[in-house]
Symmetry: C2
Subunit: 292 residues, 2 copies
């Protein structure tokens, strides 16, 4: 059963808040609070080696921060539920925390609570909350809006096979400041965790629009371009934690002028009234990284 059908099954069986407040965005919107939860499980999302405990700590916090970034929310506090295998030591726990500390400090994130329990494998389930007066939702894109990517695509997927890109997969950078800036101009956003096509597909579905993409515009690092799989990694690879933005045409120039980050902001296409996803004029399916 695909992941998204399982989520639908579960949500529809329980009293739930309605979108945009409820399930279906990068974070739940509760007043001015955006709250997200995400898990990292050993053997599923990482193995040790090549991951160090510090890598695991970094990545757990980074993937959750990326969800807040996609909402244009300012990180505030977090809870950390740890599942520790038998024999896990205090020293190992400090290594895990050491991988989290720089990100927590950089983003002003206060640990407010958590839980420790035994578990057959190491698992981290984090809950992060941030503040946003007007959060970016998946449902805000309109036909005619321009489609931007913040960051690079395909690196994490490349890192699963090419050692040179492995750090990108183990230590993704959450684009928090970029998301906060984007929130002043964009009408919708999502983070690219499951691959450009699949995550863009969520925006199209929620916003009831289509999109046209231009392959030549996709932000791929030069070192990646010489690999045959580069385009596929960029389209379907997942774990890039880039941001996709919908920006009204009349705000695009202002966004580009305001952009101070060294992380690239790249226009890669346009949202359309006609449904579906087109790459260089050809229809493509909105599929990507499969969790199950």
């Amino acid at each position: 059963v695909p992941e998204f059908d399982l989520i639908d099954t579960f949500v529809s069986a329980l009293p739930h808040a309605r979108a945009p407040k409820g399930p279906g965005d990068d974070a739940a919107v509760l007043g001015e609070l955006c709250v997200t939860t995400d898990a990292l499980v050993e053997g599923v999302h990482f193995t040790r080696p090549p991951f160090t405990l510090a890598d695991v700590g970094h990545k757990a916090l980074a993937t959750n921060l990326s969800d807040l970034a996609a909402m244009g929310a300012k990180p505030a506090w977090w809870l950390c539920a740890l599942g520790l295998p038998r024999g896990f030591t205090a020293r190992q726990l400090r290594e895990l925390a050491a991988g989290m500390r720089p990100l927590a400090r950089a983003h002003g994130l206060q640990l407010a609570g958590g839980n420790v329990s035994q578990s057959p494998v190491l698992s981290l389930t984090l809950t992060l909350a941030g503040h946003a007066k007007k959060p970016l939702l998946r449902s805000g894109a309109r036909a005619g809006d321009l489609l931007y990517v913040v960051g690079w695509l395909g690196e994490a997927a490349a890192g699963r096979t090419l050692p040179a890109f492995a750090p990108a997969q183990r230590r993704p950078t959450p684009l928090v400041a970029e998301g906060l800036l984007a929130a002043r101009f964009a009408t919708a956003a999502i983070d690219v965790s499951d691959g450009l096509l699949q995550d863009l597909g969520h925006v199209l579905h929620a916003s009831r629009v289509g999109a046209r993409l231009e392959a030549a515009r996709l932000p791929l690092r030069r070192e990646l371009l010489r690999h045959r799989a580069a385009l596929d990694w960029a389209l379907r690879g997942g774990e890039d934690y880039a941001l996709l933005l919908a920006v009204p045409g009349n705000r695009a120039a202002a966004l580009e002028r305001a952009w101070k980050s060294r992380t690239p902001l790249t226009r890669i296409g346009t949202f359309t009234r006609a449904p579906g996803l087109h790459l260089d004029g050809e229809p493509v399916e909105a599929t990507g990284f499969q969790h199950f």
Copy 2:
């Protein structure tokens, strides 16, 4: 390494909020929001059988609701991170949700988001939030306050060996309404998840007081009393999800008058200026159920 040392190690390695806002109470206090996270892991906290999936769903929500009850908080919304073993079906997920639904409905709890990932064993990590203008903390007890228990003690521990009590261990009742009422009179509270002595020990430590307990006053069901282990189950058993309250002497009569619940409210002792824990005049150690 004991669980509480691991928690201290982790918390002190990261930027964290300070108690009462931060780690160390049943829930984090963030403005008028109380937020708690707790995990239920297959093979650690339950096995199937004897647990059904509906039991697992019930217990996951009940243990988190109990944390809110201990804060005197009114449940509001929740996030659910599920770790599902390979091959877990939509039908099984509906069974899990069916065990949660009655509690979610009864307590007006709205599912606001979550996460589904693969996992070697079934695991549920829930984050619940509730509202409390003046939350009950562990640190509020004063010498001279009376010590009350809400609910019965020892049943869950009995249920691990006696079939007749097994439902108490699989389907604990979170004392949410009782916690809300208690918050109008009590100065401190905690839920009994790790055993009366251990959880009372947390209150004594946070409040810098001692306590005297009277064994004959402990609320034990008649059917339990004929078992030799009954007192030990009540003192150290864990998983009762009863509430401990500190109530100033001049508010105790008003609390007892206001008590409408069928769940018993029982005075079992007194908080003292002298540190340490005494049972019928003899010193006892604040130990209980060991997670590790």
